[in-house]
Symmetry: C2
């Protein structure tokens, strides 16, 4: 799985616009369209490129509430346990084990504060969760990446 400089350029261009044509990309990296396609196919096969997605305004589609929750877990909790819990909850859009006071940081997104609170309750009901500290997002300072 080696990624050369041209691959990096192609990845960067696709991150900017995932729908640009192979010919357009090729013009910028000095390759033909088929050559670009073959590299993209390879990068996808090697899971360097996981997929292509639309960047959507969360507010416009009704996801207005967001929250970060620090998880303080019981002594024997494993990352795998936390990960499987995170996957069970639909509101979870990100989850990380972290150094510091907390054991994990979970990013929740929901339609409104009420739905967020529900999601938080369900999270807190997980047997390995000792306590939580939450931060409700008041405003997003950067456009959705």
């Amino acid at each position: 799985m080696r990624i050369d400089d041209v691959d990096q350029q192609i990845i960067a261009l696709l991150q900017e616009d995932a729908r640009s044509s192979f010919a357009e990309i090729g013009a910028k990296v000095s390759l033909s369209a088929p050559a670009v396609k073959r590299r993209v196919d390879r990068l996808r096969a090697e899971k360097v490129i996981r997929g292509f997605t639309a960047v959507v305004d969360p507010v416009a589609v009704g996801w207005t509430a967001e929250m970060f929750v620090e998880l303080f877990c019981t002594g024997r909790t494993t990352p795998v346990q936390i990960a499987s819990a995170a996957r069970r909850h639909a509101a979870v859009v990100g989850a990380y084990t972290v150094s510091g006071e907390a054991d994990a940081l979970v990013h929740l997104r929901a339609a409104d504060i009420a739905a967020l609170e529900q999601a938080l309750e369900k999270l807190r009901a997980e047997p390995f969760v000792r306590s939580t500290r939450s931060m409700v997002v008041l405003s997003r300072l950067l456009p959705t990446t």
Copy 2:
């Protein structure tokens, strides 16, 4: 800017695969390809869809270190100030004003711990930053969204 049920479906399909064709999408939502294109064009014009991007494995492209930083700011700090600071720092991939103890939460990503530390130093040098509390990401529990 009203979004009907079909728009929602189209958005969901594009989030799954931003490179699928208008005809493919149309088949799933019972519309012709031009009809889908017109809706997508409208959604883009209205900024409901902000763009299309490739989902890349951060490790594969050399971004192995990640961190969340809680910002404690001086009394008169505005969200706008924090936002403009966030945009100045390349390592910042997310930034939010939050309720709770901290004033803001900043998500940093860099090539390694050293680069992360540098980014943190620069953040801490912002005049409105009183103090910070940071959480280094030990592991990502969900695939990159």
